[in-house]
Each structure stands twice: as structure tokens, then as C-alpha cells.
Symmetry: C2
Subunit: 481 residues, 2 copies
């Protein structure tokens, strides 16, 4: 077995064991990891200084950006402690594993349970920020998954120091538990968390579909696209975030200003920022569009206008004309602008004649991430939210709300523009799937049917609370029987 | 746009419209399809006779099996009517689209809904049986998906005649609705269902990941594997069904006999039949294993035994010896037998020393389909069900229960051994995903946080019944407010 296959195989072995680990064990492991990271703080920061020194040479040679260098730094005020707090926060989240999602009585003594369980082995690939190792390791353990992690090459020493501490914590816990009675047993192998170093490792791991169940790339468009095109393993993530906001005929001006300014300017580099503004043609004949455009330009936004919207601004009564005052901030658009994720304070503007036209534009040019309509017409809003094929469809709200923490998930694994498994901001539930448990008492299929001596299935739906674990459900059923 | 891209593009356009179609419209469309198929019965059977004639030439030339020829036939007693009844049954199923899966109040007037919606465009590839066109078209429409279908080349004329009837039904409905008032409107384009003819078409369509969201192959291991290896589009299905049953130390003999005979003999060619029997070593020292083996051989099963289990049978006291009487029905196994899906009355048998060893064998050699344990020990059963990584983990029940109809889904799209999206027998819910609807009133993200003039999110979980539609929920909320 070559070294790459060995890594994948080790992760699979760890994942098999992780399936049987309960919430209390995982919680103790996460607490031990916090302790171990705290006590290894100096070693980790020392490794971080090595990475920073090497990175600084790259910055000075013009080969690395100042912002990437900054993201590398773990020594900033409170940064290390925030990283540890993140693990404590994940520990407090509800365990996504072992939940009864559905239960059906097939016959007397024959009960079918759909129970959440871990996906298995995750391959997580990310760039620069070394604290992501801690975050992902904690998310993976909390959801009973094994993780193989690959950080940016600039953070190699830091990532390795961090993963060593995590693996030592798991190792110590395993050893300690062998000396104690069973009640405190922690049985999570160190191979639950592995860090790989090189890009070549990744290319090899992307072929390990026998052992790896899900790839999660967190990084640039180029990184995500490379991975999507080079593996058969399901990929959870998004390459593009091309969000649109449609200002419909009945939109209120003030509301539109608030929402569009928030959607464009609060963090232009984020994937949930609005890149395209669709405007109903009626607004070009009044001051509405002019007022909205002026507010955006006041907020330093560059507008790339189609012919109709540009003409409306040129025709506005102001002297000197708004367009001449705005200078480069108002430009004529080219077709590619409507397929561009600007990631800065640039906004493509297009005039449409109806909500149908807006929906058509979004379904053709969007990235299925998040799209919004500003309207006072409920029927139109519902039409938009049904007809736009995107993970998020918003009514009178900023596209920037598309975020796992804002949604209240407590953690975010990533944002997915996939059409299967998990969509939109993905919390811990994106790292679990389900299995069917069938509890019988010698039941055979030959006894069911329409023939002689055969009987029909009952298919009686049993009530379950979606927060209920199988153990709780079984206890409750026994009490009520 | 080449012809293949055009097909995929047409399906996407249809899918965009299908997103906005309600349950009543879909129900009327399904009823119209039944009517149209009934009135086109003679044309369809005529096409079927052409297919059969061509196929018979192949059979006579030894190029096609008699069983494939039989599967082609739509003229058998009641076959056509059963096909139509299938559509009526699907019409009666609960609509999987538009269900509120979760709801969270982020702030006053800012509510987040997770709502089920169609996956989009399905590419379904199947072999021989032409009635599958009707079944899949109905499942796709019921779940608001567009479908591109490819049947076996032997059933080409029949499939084309069927799809023509379905498309005419949709076309007629669209035209008719234009003359009426809005209340009876049906707006499902004929391109919601398209049939393609050649293998080359499929290879082209597998590249259309821009327009196609999910591929569902229903057929041989070779077909499924070919598709899995030749597309970036998610594939729902299973190549292998290598199910195991473990007879643990505390198993009851009679129960084990019932379950294993059912699991092996009721339909050996099915993917949910047991292919490997794991036996706890204790049973070799008593009559238990001998009795179980005898029952299996009495049921015409060929046993491929490992050295230990073979020796136990050779040592059994019967005269003449059981092994000599059984002849070819008891053989020594070779290592490959534990990785083989026999699909006939052959069973590989392996001796194991513990439930851990059984789990390890299954996790290494199984296909993550369905595996069972026969035991009287509840703790051991739970350990097995947690630690075996398979879509179905059964306790004292036959692996043959792994089936959408037996599970009570009312329909089966396929059986999935994937680790994401949908697992095990998949009903209509495997054809839907969700989107997040955010309903606001001019809400901007800049107002939330820990800064001055900022407020925290409420993240108040709103109660929803998982059968509830967004419309019902909204009505109820208005009544109680």
C-alpha cells in the first residue's frame, strides 16, 4: 500500500471506530484537545513564527500578498484564545449523529428507523489560515467523521504543530482510558485527524474514492474548480458566488436602498455579496433608479449599466449631470459583466421588463448561491422564490444574510451550490447522512404479500421528534407500552 | 448549440418552469397522461410488437437472452393496465415539494424557511423494460423534476411511442389551459419528459453538468460503473449489492434458519439478497451450524465454506457424511468469494471469532448496501448497527426487506449505496433538495453584531410539522398572531 493509500485507509479505519463513539466521549475528547492546544501554545506559536518568517521572504520578493501574510498570523491579540473558544462552542452544539429522523412500524415487532450517522471520511482542503485545522478537526469529531486536512503550504509548520497537539490529545485519552473503568473510556484513534503536506498528496487523495466519502474545499474559485474537475468523490462547496438582487416594480425606494447597499458594500469580497442588480424598467422613468444609483455611488460603488439604465442616469435633471460627476463610477456594461463575480465594489446593472425576465436572467447567469427580490407584492415574491433555482431566495432582505452563523447553525462547514445532499450555508448536518436500522424478531420477506398465508405490511408511521435519539425513543416506547 | 446540449438545455428550461407548478396541476397532468396512454394503447402495443420482432431475431441468433426478451413484452395479461395503475398510485403519494423542513426567526419580521424543492433535471438510464419510462416520468413530474430518459435499445420503439403519448398529454394540457380561466391552468412543458435513443447520446449527456443535476442508472453493475466513472454529475444508485448476514453467538437456530433462508433464496438475483454468511465460531462446535447448513442445502443453496466451517461439516456425525451427500452444494471457498455478488443460490461462508471481526469483514468486503446480525444480545446488536457502515443495518431480519415498497415509500427511485444525499432504498424524497427562503422587510446585515447600534440575532426555532407546506404554515401563523 503506497503512502497516500495508507493515509486514506487509516482515516477509514478511524471512521469505522468513530461511528460507535457517543456524545459524551466526543465531548471529553474536544475538551482534552482544548487543554492540549493550550499547553502546546508556545510550540505552536514558534512554528507559526517559522511560517511567518518564510512567508515574509515571499512577501518581500513580491511572491505573496500582504493580506495572505496577515491571515497566517496566530499571534495577534486574542487570536489563539478565539481559536480555542471555537472548539468549546462546537462542543456545545447538538450532536448531529444518532437522531431518529423517521420511524415506521412495518409489522408487529418489525420497526424501521432512519437514524442520522456520520458521512465517514472527509478530505478538507483550505488555504492560508492555520486555525482552520482546529475548526475542521472539531467539526469532524463532533459529527463522528474522520478528517484528512491540507492547509496552504505557507502555514505548513503551524498546521503540523496544531495537528500534532490534537493527535497527542486523542492518543493520551485512548491510553488513559485503558487504565480506568469503562465509564470514562475514550476510544477515538489519533488517525481521526491527519494532516497532509503537499499538493501532490491531494491529487493522490482525490483518487481514493474507496476510502474518502466527501471532499470539502474552502478557498479560491480556482482551488474549488480544480478539485471538482479532478475527483469522483462528492465535493461540498461552491466555486462561484454570483448573487443578484431584483428591484421589482412595487419596491419601496428606502427599503431598496438599505438592502442593496448592505448587499453590495458590507463585505464585497464575500461570496454572498450582490454582483448584479436587476431593475424593473418602470424605475427608469421616475427618480427611483436615479436615487438608488446615487446612493450606491455615494457608497463608493462603481455601476456597470446596460444601455437603458445608463441613459436614464444621463437624462437625470441634475446640473452638472450625475453621470459626469460620478466619473468612472458610472460606466457602460459589457455582456461579460453579468457573468462576473467582481468581489469588489463593482455592480452590474440590467433593466428588465418583468419578474419572469429577472428570473430568466438569474437562472441563466447566476451561480445558484443566493438571489433576492425587493417587492411589496407578495404574489410576485412567492413567484420569484419558487422560480429562481438557488440555495437562497430572499424577499426584501440582503443577500449577505447567507451565512451559517447568521442562519443560526452555530458553525459553518461551507456554503454549497450543489443540487444534492446539502445546499446553501451548511452546518454540522451537512457532515451526516442516515442509515436504516431494521429491528425484527426473525422476520422474513416471504411472509408478506397478497398470496396465501401472506399478510400486508402495516406501514404505520411512528411519531418522532427530530431531536430525539434512538436511545431516548426506545426508552419512551418501553415506558408507554 | 449541438443537439445533445439542446436536449439538456430544453430539460433545464422545463425544470425552471416545473419549480413553480403546484400539486393540483401535477395531479391533473398525471391524470391526463393516464388518459392519453390508455387511448394510445394500440399504437404503443404496435410499437412494442416491432421491438419484439426485432428482439426475437436477436434471440434466435443467440445474441439476446430469452429473459430480456420477456421483459420487453407489454402485451402480457394486465401488464399495460398495471403500468397505468402505477401512475395513479404515484399521483396519490404526498407531494414531496414545498414542505417546510425547518423555520427560524432571525429577528422580528425576518424569518428563514428551509423548503423542499425539486433537484432539477434528472438523467435516467435503464435497461429493457419499457414500462419504466412511464414510471420514471410519473416520479419525476410528481417531484417537479424534468427527466431525460434512455431505455435499452431493444425497447426503442415502445419507449418512443410511450414518451410521445406523455408529451402529447402535456402539450394538450398547456394548449387547453390557455383557453380557460387561470384556475385550471396546467403549464408543464412537453420537454419535461424527453427520450434519447443512442448510447452516444448518453455519453454526451453525461458531460452536461451545467444543465443536468442527477443521473440515475437502473441496471447492471457494468452500466452503473460505466456511468459512475464517466460523469461529474452526482449519480444515485448502486453498482454492487454485496450483503452479509452475521449469525452471532447468542443467535437462535430457528430464527437464523428463517432469516438466512429468506435472505438467500427468495430472489437470489436481487441486490438485497445475502451473499456472505458470517458465523460465530462457537456454532461450529455444536449442531447449530450443521443444522443451518443442512437447511440451506435443502433449499438448493450452494455453500462456499472457509476451512473451519467446512471441517465442521465434514466432522458432522451423519452417515453417509453430510458433505458427501451434499456433493457440489458444499465447496471450499476461495478468497474472491467474499468479494463476489453471486446473484444466484450461492453463499460464501466465513467463520469469525467476534462481532468486531464480523464488522471488520463487512466494512472491508461489503458494498454498504444492507447487512444483518442475528443475535439475542441487544447490546451486541446495537454495536453492530452502529459500527457497520451500510445503508441498512438489520437486527434479526432478512436483508431482503431493503426495498422502497417494503419500507412504505410507495415508490422506489432506486437503491443508493452513496454516502451523501440519499442512502438505501430511495423514494420520492431522493428527487428533492431544499432551498432557503428568507422573508424580510428591508433587513440589512450591518444592523447585527456586537458593535454600537447593532443587535444580536434571535435564532428562535419556529415549530413546523414536516408535512406542512409553506402556505399552510403562513396561514396558521396569521391566524394565531
Amino acid at each position: 500500500m503506497d503512502s497516500i493509500t495508507q493515509i486514506a485507509f487509516n482515516a477509514r479505519q478511524a471512521a469505522n471506530i468513530l461511528q460507535t463513539v457517543d456524545t459524551a466521549q466526543k465531548s471529553r475528547a474536544l475538551k482534552l484537545i482544548i487543554q492540549k492546544l493550550a499547553s502546546a501554545k508556545e510550540d505552536i506559536l514558534k512554528a507559526n513564527r517559522v511560517d511567518k518568517e518564510l512567508a515574509l521572504q515571499q512577501v518581500n520578493a513580491g511572491k505573496l500578498s500582504q493580506s495572505l501574510y496577515k491571515r497566517l498570523d496566530l499571534e495577534g491579540a486574542g487570536k489563539f484564545e478565539t481559536m480555542l473558544q471555537g472548539v468549546a462552542d462546537i462542543d456545545l452544539l447538538e450532536d448531529p449523529v444518532g437522531k431518529v429522523l423517521a420511524a415506521t412500524k412495518l409489522d408487529t415487532g418489525l420497526e424501521l428507523y432512519r437514524v442520522s450517522c456520520p458521512v465517514g471520511v472527509l478530505l478538507v482542503i483550505f488555504e492560508a489560515r492555520p486555525e482552520v485545522v482546529v475548526n475542521i478537526a472539531a467539526l469532524a469529531l463532533k459529527s463522528s467523521n474522520a478528517a484528512i486536512l491540507k492547509g496552504g503550504k505557507e502555514s505548513l509548520h503551524t498546521c503540523t504543530a496544531i495537528s500534532n497537539a490534537i493527535r497527542e490529545a486523542l492518543d493520551d485519552a485512548c491510553k488513559a482510558s485503558k487504565d480506568e473503568d469503562g465509564s470514562q473510556q475514550i476510544n477515538i484513534p489519533a488517525n481521526a485527524v491527519q494532516v497532509v503536506e503537499s499538493r501532490e498528496d491531494i491529487d493522490g487523495l482525490l483518487k481514493q474514492d474507496k476510502y474518502i466519502d466527501l471532499v470539502i474545499p474552502r478557498g479560491s474559485n480556482a482551488l474549488v474548480k480544480h478539485i471538482q474537475w479532478n475527483t469522483r468523490i462528492p465535493v461540498l462547496g461552491h466555486a462561484d458566488g454570483l448573487c443578484a438582487t431584483y428591484v421589482a416594480e412595487s419596491a419601496q425606494l428606502q427599503l431598496a436602498k438599505t438592502v442593496v447597499v448592505d448587499a453590495k458594500t458590507t463585505y464585497p469580497a464575500a461570496c454572498n455579496s450582490t454582483e448584479t442588480l436587476l431593475v424593473h424598467e418602470s424605475h427608469l422613468k421616475t427618480d427611483f433608479f436615479y436615487e438608488l444609483a446615487k446612493t450606491l455611488v455615494d457608497n463608493k460603488v462603481t455601476l456597470k449599466c446596460d444601455a437603458a439604465s445608463l441613459k436614464a442616469l444621463q437624462d437625470s435633471k441634475e446640473t452638472p449631470s450625475f453621470v459626469s460627476t460620478a466619473g468612472d463610477n458610472v460606466q457602460e456594461s459589457v455582456p461579460e459583466d453579468y457573468d462576473t463575480e467582481f468581489l469588489d465594489l463593482t455592480l452590474a446593472i440590467k433593466t428588465v421588463g418583468s419578474v419572469e425576465e429577472a428570473m430568466e436572467h438569474i437562472n441563466e447567469h447566476g451561480s445558484k448561491h443566493t438571489d433576492a427580490i425587493i417587492t411589496e407584492d407578495e404574489k410576485e415574491a412567492k413567484q420569484f422564490m419558487a422560480g429562481v433555482d438557488a440555495a437562497g431566495v430572499y424577499w426584501n432582505a440582503s443577500t449577505r444574510f447567507a451565512d451559517g452563523f447568521r442562519y443560526g447553525f452555530g458553525a459553518e462547514v461551507g456554503v454549497s451550490t450543489n443540487k444534492t445532499h446539502a445546499r446553501g450555508p451548511v452546518g454540522l448536518e451537512g457532515l451526516v447522512i442516515y442509515k436504516y436500522q431494521l429491528h425484527g424478531n426473525g422476520h422474513a420477506t416471504a411472509n408478506y404479500g397478497t398470496g396465501a398465508h401472506q399478510k400486508p405490511y402495516l406501514h404505520e408511521r411512528l411519531p418522532v421528534d427530530d431531536r430525539e435519539s434512538l436511545q431516548e425513543l426506545s426508552n419512551k416506547r418501553q415506558r408507554t407500552e
